[in-house]
Amino acid sequence: MTNVTIKNLRSASAPLTPKLALRDAEGIAKRNLLRILRTPRQVFGSIIQPCLILLVFRYMVGGAIHIPGVDYVNYLVPAIFLEAVLMGGANTSLALAQDLQMGMIERFRSLPMARSAVLIGRTFADACRNVLALMFVIALGILVGFRFHNSLGACLAGIALIILFGYAFSWFYATIGLAVKDPQTAQTFSLLPMFILFFPSSALVPIPTMPGWLQPFAAHQPVTVTIDALRALFDGGPVFNNLWQAISWCVGIFLVFLVVSLNLYRKATA
């Protein structure tokens, strides 16, 4: 019996291959997806929120906004698509802060699993939830008069860009969740992108209508270039300039917050 024990103690762990790491991430993603499915209230929330904004600007505010040569509904709706995944990310920071508070992160950190798996599994599950919410918002957009005018390929590329943008930002939200640690605070902080990036952008009104000091920021920040790229992809028009900027922003945000959040995770404690 003692021999068995000694052998057990001496057996070094199998090395962590990329395959095993992927399997860990899959396991965590499945757990998160089950959690999402079992809290339909939250899923409902992340669908209803962009839908309400869409309806408010389409029917209550939109009448006062005139953009020469453009139908406002086609101007507005691509921005709402992006808003859906941008605010959907708030769920990522909330869920991670909850996992920290519940002690789940401690449990995961005491297991021989890959460290990256908790965050990869988290962001993947949230990307799935984003896609689901996005489908509802697209349906509502069409219902209130939005139309895709470009080729199928371009439109699909636009939708892929929205998902990519949401995924990149979910790493930003993961960083917030791990940094503030408290679910309530995480939710508050998750509103920041709305005010810092979404409102001061071309999302709702053209940038030339904003004060001069705000315009340089508004014109070059990631939400504006991504929304402008989306409009071009859905409606037609020159797309290259905005598209490569949008993709660069996404890749940059993804890489920076990937590194930061993995670092925070390594040290994370409740």
């Binding site: 019996m1 003692t2 057990n8 762990s13 002690g103 995961f108």
Partner: protein, 326 residues
Amino acid sequence: MTAAIEVDEVSKRFGATVALDAVSFTVDVGTVLALLGPNGAGKTTLVRVLTTLLVPDSGHARVGGFDVQKDARTIRSMIGLAGQYATVDELLTGRENLELVGLLYHLDKELYRTRAQEALERMSLASAGDQQVKTYSGGMRRRLDLAASLIGQPPVLLLDEPTTGLDPRTRNDLWGFIEELVAEGTTVLLTTQYMEEAEHLANSIVVLDSGRVVAKGTADELKDRLGGNVLEVRVNKRADLDRAASLIANFGNGPSRTNPDLNQVLLPIRDGASVLIAAGRALQDHGVALDDLGIRRPSLDDVFLAITGHTTDTHAVEAGNTEISR
């Protein structure tokens, strides 16, 4: 064989708080060590160091010969941890929780399924296995948490206050269960605030107080430090309590303790029967009416009091009423 766990001069502070102060001890393979101490003694901090969750400021800790800082992942693959607060996912079922942990131990799917089923049965959770954990009682959660720590069949098990909050029957079941695991060769480090638990389960005991090891040894060794026995006097009238304490004080080899709720005086003594008789006579001569008079082996409670000057926190209520007279 060598030690399964070695703790060597481990220190850890949080700001001004010294949570661990040069703590050293070893746990032999296949034995149980109980880490005994009141709230804030540093028990959880030490468990977190040994489970690679916390890096010590100084000192070394090894599990199975591997260093907690250098070989963290190897250690994680051979330990099972049940933390102080059950960490199970409320929205998953008991089975899903266990299977997830099994997967993260990198077991094959077949294997973690079988083990999850076995663990549910072993912890009497089989019938609730497919219910979401949010419907579980506190005791069921703890058992599930413990089951999760066993999925990897780890040779070293770390249990942080495994029986706190359990009813006596469940606690007994759990003790039996830990004994089974040890019989199979598992090494266990458990923390507890219950003397009884340490006495029942542990081969050796380390007493922590404010981050320092204040005593270590077997239960018997610790009791011997107290130098023998305890004289227990129960007076009939509470008014006689202090007088009784001072009448017998000379027979003791340490300060006596009075416990007004029980009309009780406890006095550590070296000799046995002769002191009993002499003390009984002294009390009788001065007209102190007695309900009970006897000698018993000291409990770990007595030992803890003698070493640290206060009782364990579990007995805080009692301790509040206990005055130490000199």
